[in-house]
C-alpha cells in the first residue's frame, strides 16, 4: 500500500471533483434540472482556456477568468434556450441536455479535431508534499477548487441571494408566492453550475488534456458524486467527491488503472440500490 501517494493524489483529485460536481448538485437541488450536459461545461471550459491562452495570446489567468465567464453565460443560454421550455418534463430535460452535450462534442470536434489539445500550465514546476512528487498546477487546481467551493457554499449559506436559492430549492411555488423570482434564481444557478464546471475544466485541462469527448467522463463523475452525496446536498457533494476520488486512486494503485474508470459507475449502481437518497441527501420521491 503506497499510502502517501494515495493520500496526496486522492486529495488533490477530490478537490477538483467537488468543484466539478457542485454545479450538477445545485442545478438539480435548486432548479430540479438533471443536466446531462454538465460535463460539456467542463469540456468547453478547457477549450476556452486553450483558445485564449494558445491562440489569442491572453495570459493564463485571463484565460481562466474568460473560461469561467463564458461557461457562466453558456449555462444561462442552455437554460433559456433549451431547458426552460421543457423544464416541467424531467425526461425531456434529460433528452435535450444529452442532445446538447452530443452537439457540443461534435461542434468542438469539427472546430478543433477529434484529438485533444493541451495548454500550458498556469503555474509550472513540481513539489513533493509528503514525499510525493506532483505538479504545482495540480496543487493550484485543488486549492482554487476548494476556495471556489467554499465561496459558493458561503454564498448559498449566508447571503440574501443564497437564502432565495435555498427557498426555491425547498419549495419553488412557495418561494414564488413570497416574491422570489424562481426563474431568475434558476438562471443564476445554471450559470453558476456552468462556471464551476468550466473552471474545473480550465484548471484540470492542462494536466489531463482536453478532448471533445471529455464531457462524458466528467458527467459520469459528477453524476456519481452527486448520487452518492445526495442530490442537492452541498456537504454531501463535498464528502462524496473525496470518497469517489480516493476509491479511484486506491483501485489505480492497488489493482490496476484499467479498472479506475469503473469506480464512478459502480458508485452510481451501489448508491441507487443501497441508499437512493445518498449520504446526506433528502428522500426523493
Amino acid at each position: 500500500m503506497v499510502l502517501p501517494e494515495i493520500f496526496v493524489f486522492g486529495g488533490l483529485l477530490g478537490a477538483v471533483y467537488a468543484l466539478l460536481s457542485l454545479g450538477f448538485s445545485l442545478s438539480y437541488g435548486v432548479a430540479r434540472i438533471l443536466n446531462l450536459a454538465h460535463g460539456s461545461f467542463y469540456m468547453i471550459g478547457g477549450y476556452v482556456y486553450y483558445v485564449f491562452l494558445t491562440l489569442s495570446g491572453v495570459n493564463s489567468v485571463g484565460s481562466l477568468l474568460l473560461a469561467v465567464a463564458l461557461t457562466f453565460l453558456l449555462g444561462i443560454a442552455l437554460y433559456l434556450g433549451l431547458v426552460r421550455p421543457v423544464r416541467t418534463a424531467p425526461v425531456r430535460v434529460l433528452l435535450i441536455t444529452l442532445s446538447a452535450a452530443i452537439v457540443a462534442q461534435e461542434v468542438v470536434s469539427l472546430a478543433f479535431g477529434d484529438r485533444g489539445v493541451g495548454a500550458s500550465f498556469i503555474i509550472g514546476g513540481i513539489s513533493a508534499p509528503f514525499g510525493v512528487v506532483v505538479e504545482n498546477q495540480r496543487i493550484l487546481a485543488a486549492g482554487v477548487s476548494l476556495a471556489m467551493f467554499l465561496c459558493v457554499w458561503l454564498l448559498i449559506r449566508f447571503t440574501k441571494l443564497g437564502r432565495a436559492v435555498r427557498a426555491v430549492a425547498q419549495d419553488a411555488e412557495a418561494a414564488s408566492l413570497m416574491g422570489i423570482n424562481d426563474t431568475r434564481i434558476s438562471l443564476i444557478t445554471l450559470g453558476l453550475s456552468g462556471a464551476t464546471a468550466g473552471l474545473a475544466g480550465a484548471l484540470l485541462g492542462p494536466l489531463t488534456g482536453i478532448s471533445p469527448d471529455a464531457w462524458l467522463n466528467a458527467t459520469v463523475v459528477a453524476f456519481a458524486v452527486v448520487i452518492l452525496g445526495g442530490l442537492g446536498s452541498i456537504p454531501g457533494t463535498f464528502l462524496a467527491a473525496f470518497l469517489v476520488s480516493y476509491s479511484q486512486i486506491v483501485v489505480a494503485f492497488e489493482v490496476s488503472s484499467s479498472y479506475e474508470i469503473i469506480v464512478p459507475l459502480a458508485v452510481i449502481a451501489v448508491a441507487v440500490l443501497v441508499r437512493p437518497k445518498g449520504l446526506l441527501g433528502r428522500v426523493e420521491e
Partner: protein, 470 residues
Amino acid sequence: MLTRRSGMARSAAIAVLVVIVIAAVAGVVSYYYVSTAPASTSTSTSTATSVSTSTSTQTVTSTGISTVTSTSIKTITSTGVQPITFGILGPLTDVTGIDEKEGAQLAVTEINAHGGVLGRPLQLVYEDTQEADPTIPVSTGLAAMNRIVTVDHAQVIIGGERSDVVLAEEQQLPKYKVPFLDTGAADTSLGQQVIANYSLYKYFFMVSPVNSTSLATGLISYYGYFHYVEPNYTKVYILAEDIAVWHALVPVLQYYLPKLGFTIVSPGGGADFFPYGSTDFTTQMSNVRSSGAQVICLLAAGQDSVQLIQTWANLKVPAIPMGIDVAAESPTFWGQTSGAAKYETIEVGIGDTGSPINTIGANFYQNYSRYYNTLPIYTADGAYESVYIAAQAIEKAGTTNGTALIPYIEKTNMTGPDGVVTFDRSHNVVYNPDYTKGAALSMVQWTAFNTYTPVWPPTVAKPIALPPWM
C-alpha cells in the same frame, strides 16, 4: 395562455439564436483552422530544407512510372477518358488520415503528370471512417467502405488505421473483390486471415507500417543496441495501453529483454496496462519512479501518450521513454506536448526519420514537406507507396479488375521511402533491418520542434541524449 405562448415563443427565439451563435462561432473557428491549415501554404519548414535538395526526376525501381518534382500540386483531369479511381478510406480529419490523403495525392499527381496508367488518369475519392476516435464503432468504417465501393466506385482501396476496424473491413473483401492496401493497421491477425483463407482474403495487403511482430523485432533489436551503448541503464518499466496488440507484444518483450541484460521492474515483471484513452498518468508515473526504472518501454497507439509524456516531463520522472508511440510520430506531437516530447525515443519507418535513405525517399520527403508544409508520417509514405503499387499492378495487368490485379500486387518489388517493398505469403510488407532488402525500421529521438534524430540502426545512429534529470 397568451402569456405562456409568448413565453414559449420567446424561448424558441432564444433557442434559435443560441444555435445561430454556436454555428457562427464554429464557422469562424473552422474557417480560421482551414485558412491556416498546413496544406494551404507553400513554404517549407526548416527541417524540410535540411533534406536532400535534389530535384531531378527519379524513376521508381521496376515500375516504369516516374516521380517528378513538380512546382505545384494540382488535380489533373482529363477529357473524354475514364479515370481510374482509387479510394482513400480512413480517419480523414485525423493526422493519420490526412497524411494518407496527402501521400496518395502526391503520388497521383506525379503519375498523372506522366500520362497516368494505361493512358487513363488516376483520380482519388475519399470516405471518412472517423476511426481515430476510439469511441467510433467499427460499423462506421464498414459503412464508409460500402460507400467507397458502391457509390464512389473505387477500384482500389488505400487506407485503414485501427486494427479492429480494418479487420472488419477485411471481412468484406470477398464481397467487394477490391484490393485493399492497408497503410495504418499493423496487427498480425490481418495477414493471418490471408494465409488461413487465401481465396477469400487475398485482396488484403499490409503496406505500412510493418506488422506488429516486425515492430517488436525492431524494438528488441534497438534495446540490444541501447544496452551496448548505455550498459548502466538496465531497469525497464513496460507501460502499455490496454489493447490487444500490446498484450500480444508484451510476452515477447518479457522473454527477450532479460536475455539482453535488462530487468523488468513493472508490476509482476510484466506490463503496467492503462486504459486506451486515459488522460491522467500521475499514478503510473508515481509507480515508475518508485520502481527505480531507468527506461520506460512505452507501447501506445492512441493520443493518450500526449498527456503521458507531458506528465512524465512535468514530474521529471528519471526514466527515458523508448518504445512504440504512434501519436509521437506526428510532427504535431512536439506542439501537442508543449515540447515535453524532448528525449522521447520512438520506433518509426526508416523513411520517416528526416534523413531519407534513398533519392525516392528524399524526393518524397522534400515534395511532401514543400506542398503540405509539414512532415509526413508512416501513413503518408504508405499511401504514397500504395498508389504506386496499385498503379504498377494495373499497368502490368492491363486491367483494373480487382481479382486480376492480385498476382501482380503480390509480385511487387519496388523501392519506396521505407526501403524495398515486397510482400510475404500473409501479404504483409516484408521487414528487413537492411533497407535495401526490405522495409526497414529506425528509432528516432525527439530533439527539437519538427525534428527528431535517428539513434538506431547503427548505420544512421547519432548518440542518444538523456534527460538532464536522469
